[in-house]
Each structure stands twice: as structure tokens, then as C-alpha cells.
Amino acid sequence: MVKAGSTGPLDNVQGFVSHLRSNGFSLGQKETEQALNVLINTNGNLARDRNRLKALFTGNHDQWSSFDNLFEAFWFRRGKKRNTWQHNTKTSEKSCKLPEVWSDHLNEETNGQENATPQIETNVHEHNDGEEKNQVATGRLIATKHTARTKTDLRQFVDPEEIAEAEKLAYNLAKAIQHKLSRRRRLDKRGRWLDFRRTIRSNVRYGGDLIDIKKQRIPERPVKIVVLLDVSGSMQHYSRFFLQFVKGLVCQWLESDAFLFHTKLIRVTDTIRDNNTTRAMTKLSLMAEGFGGGTKLGECLKVFNATYAKKTLTSRTTVIILSDGYEVGSAENLKTELQQLKKRAKRLIWLNPLLGWENYAPVTAAMQAALPHIDHFAAANTLVSLAAIEPELARL
């Protein structure tokens, strides 16, 4: 396999490896050497060489499925070259400019609210009216608090102090819902139970007299958290705050997974875990492109149940849904999907920003259908209100 315009197989393979690296593959020097070894014994069968390199270079399903495209792109200069956002030629985004869909979410100037399209069921209008009145009257919403000093700017959006605050809170929250489920015991000095086998084993050296006592206890196993964040139009005031919260959670809690939904569902865990916060947020906004219309939680959950649920949900998983519950799809659908979800997950928490308002009652059909399946239903519209539910979650 020799690529046109290069000096030799070593250059080619090195080039290919760095091409893969720039697309998120973690490959070391050893892989390059092995690839060369593999290719030395080749007999010019391209399809087999490709399969060999595939087995050698890939490490998970995502890489496995993107490998063929990357291979073609490098060796035949076909298709797209990179998948990272800087060089994504497919989108019209040239710089860090916000895509239109997101300008609503991130724009906090008040005139944006007039353009906001209240969606969905008839009573939404009432609520939206109520929302604006409330906002002025109580100043309870986080969005208004920041109006004076923020413009549409991603750097503002990723204010390190706020992120740090959100991370701290998210971590505390995750700690609070950590629970012990396992029946298995582990060796532990401060344990409650005697570990007979190990005690006898360690006292063999004393001729069987019991001197050294070994104990065991049930270890604390971290709970896994899956967050589903609603980013539809009706949630725009809270998106900024919730995204920070989700970022905090995913970065602080190793066993977590994050998804955005609107009319579609996207997994964003890897994007959010990016060390570069600005890049992470820009990627997020690019990923959310093509979103439009109202919330279709039922359908998104269906997709989730069919694909991600098997991988992400275990009996130790807590699912957190952040949504206002204004659903376009049928309530019946939502109900069955939540039922499905509950079968796999340990606990379902629904955080609704509207619940923090006076006079709000979860009367929409979707909310009514969902309520019986929710283990904990709480308000969440500011960091303070989120912190307030921490002790309650710990009690669950």
C-alpha cells in the first residue's frame, strides 16, 4: 500500500496514524510499529489490509464504525477529512458564531423573549404569559439575573467561576443520590462482619491461633447517573444554567452519561468531557443544529430505550430528566416509554424549572401521564434551588 506523493511506507503509516489521532483515536508508537509489521507481510490485498488495520487501530464501536470512512479519506482522498469541529466543512459555521437555533437559548437579552415561539398545547400560552409576569415580579429566574451583564457570547457562557460552582453543586448532588445496593462484601478494616476465610488464612502463620482478625463490609459503589436535558424553545431561559449543571455533573461524576433532546436525541457525554470548555460548548451548539419544533420526549425516550438504554442503564442507574414537560407527542406514548425506562433504571428523577413558580401545577397531559412513574419530582430553576433538593435526594 503506497500512497501517491509520499516517500515510503513509514511516512504513509505515520501519516495515517496521525490522521486517526486527529480524529480522536488514542494510538501510540507501538501501534505504528505493529501496523508496519503487519503491512510488511502483506500481499497487496487491500480489503484485508484494511481489516487488519481496523482490528489493530480501533478500540470501541464508534471508532469501529468510523474507521472505514477515515481509511478511504486518507488513502484515496475521498470523503471528509476530519471530524473535529474546526474543520467541519459541512456546516456553514465558519467561526464561533452561534447557530440560529442556539442563539435563542444562549441569548439573554430580553428582546429575544418576544420572538420566542411558545409551543405546544393550549395552556402553554397561559403559562408563558405567566412566566414573563413572574419573571419581572419575582426575579426568581436565573436568566433575568444575568441579563444586565451578559450578551450573546460563548466566553460569557463558559465563565469559569460559574462552571466551577455548577460542578461543585453537581458533584454534591451526585454524592447525595449515591446509594448502596450490593450484597457482596469486601475486605475492609472498619467492616462490620468477620471474614472467616481470610482470618483463618492470615492466621496460618500463627499456627492457627486467631490473632489477626479480618473484617469485611459492603463497599460503597458509585451510582451511575444519566441526564436527559430538554433544550426545546420553551426551556430556553434555563438552557444556559442546565447545560452548566450537566457539564458539571458529567465532568465530576465519572459514571455518568448526558443526552440532549428536543425533537431528536443526541448523546453529548464525550463532547462535554472536552477539557477545553469553549470548544465543548461550541461543539454542543453545533450538535444541536437541526433541532426545531417542540419537545418530543416520548419519541426521544423511545430512541433512548431502543439504543442507549441497554448500555447505560443498570440497576444502579439514576435517570434525571430536566424538562418542563410541555410535550408535543402523545401522553400515552410518553407513559409507555417511561414505564420501559423504569424497568431498567433504579430511580427516575424529574427536575422541572416551572415547579418553582407560584401557582404552577403539573396539569399538562404529558406531566400527568409521567407523574406516576417519577420517584422524585422537584423544582430546579436556580443553582440555589438545586442545592436545596440535595438533602431530599439523599433521603430517597
Binding site: 501510540g28 509489521n37 482490528a55 489493530l56 478500540g59 470501541n60 469501529w64 450490593s182 448500555k311
Partner: protein, 290 residues
């Protein structure tokens, strides 16, 4: 080498596609572990079993589970026996050094799968099944064994592998594996087989069945996998179903829809799935496949 592996695998009833065959070949060539991922029921475990058959060697299986520890995976001392030996030697008042050498000898060592695997004369196939169920700590311990093929027993010293085992790891993806582990392995994703390959598998496992029926079964199942199901039927389910149809002397699946509907319990494993595949759906799928 490539062709021989492919034909020999099919000789023992395992039909592999090109990428999997290449991965197995490469794993044997480079003596590196092979990590297989994929949905439950696509035949990941079967790869190891078939490989052991064609290499004519032992298959050593380590089934991972939450809480799996060194004592259950590598080695453990037989404490009861050690204690007995001590008590007996006390009554005879024999010298202490002698007892020590005696009780920390091979005789008192209980070998578990991983230690067994590195001490075999012939390189065995070591199957580490569902590695994603084991804890992170165990995964870290596995790294030493997979990169150096040696195990340290404090009382005996380091045991080097007499032969390097062929290691196959499988994962259902219930947990993300660490990058360190992934880097030490070759990787292959096993998907549900194409209808043509599935037909070959049915024929390989159930040679008495007619080709036409095998073909229909393969296409019916592949159609069924596209339906909205909770649990997609795997290869094992397909084979069960083929056995059932063969046993009921059905020669074509569009023959008797009533009977066909009854046999679907071989393929569908949850109540919701059974309800969602109505006789209409069955007849539609059967009509397409026939």
C-alpha cells in the same frame, strides 16, 4: 493462513465474516488478546469455543461478575488443608522450616482460571467472558497478565507463562472499558450476521435442514430484527427456532401461519415483544421471506 482459518472455522460450525476472520488471524499472528464487542447473542463466546476446537487445545473460561477478585480468578491457598498440616506436624513436633516449605507448595495451591491458563503446556484459548461486568480494579489487574503473561504469587514468586494463551475477551458494553485495556487488545465489533451468512450458520449447525427453509428462516429473522423489539433475537434463538421448525416438520414458513405464530416463543423473549409481533406482522414477514 487467512483462508485456512476461515475454512477451519466453518469446519467446526462457525461462519465468520471477513473482518472477524482477519482479526482472529492477526490475534494469532501477533499473539495479542482480541476484544470482541457486540449485542448479546451474536456469537462472541462461540468464537473462543470454535477457536479452541480448531487449534485442538483447551478452552479455559473465566466468567466475570461484579465483585470478582484475585482469589476467584487467579489463585488461592487451601487454608483448611494448610491448617490441618500444621496441626499434624505440631503433634509430631517436627521442625518449623519444614512445615513452612510444605504448606506453601504446589500441593496447597488452588489454581483458578487465569493461573491455569498460563501454566498449560500447550497454549490454551483463554476466554474472559463479559469483562464489562467485572470491577475496574480487576480490569487493572488483568493488564499485567495480558501484557507480560506472568502472575506474581508472593509466597512462590513470579510465575511466567509456559505458553502464551490465546486470549479472547468479550464485552456487552454495559460499562466503558478503560483505554489501557483497549489499547492492549485487538478489537472487533461483531454484528448480527447478514441473512446469507446466517443461512450458512443454520446449515452448518443443523445439516439435516433443507436449504430453502434455512434461507427463509434467515431472512425472516433478519426482518424481525428490524421490527421495534425490546430484545432482538440472537443467533442462538435463530438456531432454536430452526430446530423447532425442523422438529415440527415444517418445510416452508408460509405454510401454516398458526403454527408459525406458536413457534415464535423461540425467538421472542419478552411479553411485550410477543404481543407486538401479531399474526399480521408474522404473515407479512413470512411472506417477504418466502
Amino acid at each position: 493462513m487467512y483462508q485456512t482459518i476461515k475454512t477451519r472455522l466453518s469446519g467446526v460450525g462457525y461462519i465468520a465474516d471477513d473482518s472477524l476472520t482477519t482479526a482472529i488471524e492477526l490475534a494469532l499472528d501477533l499473539a495479542r488478546p482480541l476484544l470482541l464487542e457486540g449485542e448479546a447473542g451474536v456469537g462472541k463466546t462461540e468464537v473462543a469455543k470454535s477457536l479452541a476446537k480448531i487449534l485442538d487445545t483447551n478452552l479455559i473460561r473465566l466468567q466475570c461478575y461484579e465483585g470478582l477478585d484475585v482469589a476467584n480468578a487467579i489463585y488461592e491457598w487451601n487454608y483448611q488443608k494448610q491448617l490441618l498440616a500444621i496441626k499434624i506436624s505440631e503433634s509430631r513436633s517436627s521442625p518449623a522450616e519444614g512445615i513452612e516449605d510444605q504448606i506453601f507448595s504446589e500441593k496447597y495451591l488452588l489454581t483458578r482460571p487465569l493461573l491455569q491458563a498460563v501454566r498449560q503446556e500447550n497454549p490454551p484459548v483463554l476466554l474472559i467472558d463479559e469483562i464489562d461486568r467485572a470491577d475496574m480494579e480487576f480490569e487493572a489487574y488483568l493488564l499485567e497478565i495480558l501484557s507480560d503473561y506472568q502472575i506474581t504469587v508472593p509466597e512462590l514468586g513470579t510465575i511466567k507463562a509456559t505458553s502464551v494463551p490465546h486470549v479472547i475477551l468479550t464485552s456487552n458494553g454495559t460499562r466503558e472499558l478503560s483505554d489501557a485495556l483497549r489499547r492492549r487488545c485487538l478489537y472487533s465489533y461483531v454484528d448480527f450476521p447478514e441473512p446469507e451468512i446466517e443461512r450458512e450458520i443454520i446449515l452448518a449447525r443443523l445439516p439435516e435442514i433443507e436449504i430453502q427453509l434455512a434461507d427463509q428462516i434467515a431472512r425472516f429473522v433478519s426482518g424481525l430484527r428490524r421490527e421495534d423489539l425490546e430484545k432482538l433475537p440472537g443467533m442462538a434463538e435463530t438456531l432454536d427456532w430452526a430446530h423447532a421448525l425442523y422438529g415440527m416438520k415444517i418445510t416452508s414458513i408460509d405454510q401454516d401461519f398458526g403454527k408459525l405464530q406458536q413457534t415464535l416463543i423461540c425467538l421472542l423473549k419478552t411479553e411485550r415483544d410477543l404481543k407486538s409481533v401479531t399474526p399480521e406482522v408474522t404473515s407479512r414477514l413470512a411472506g417477504k421471506a418466502a
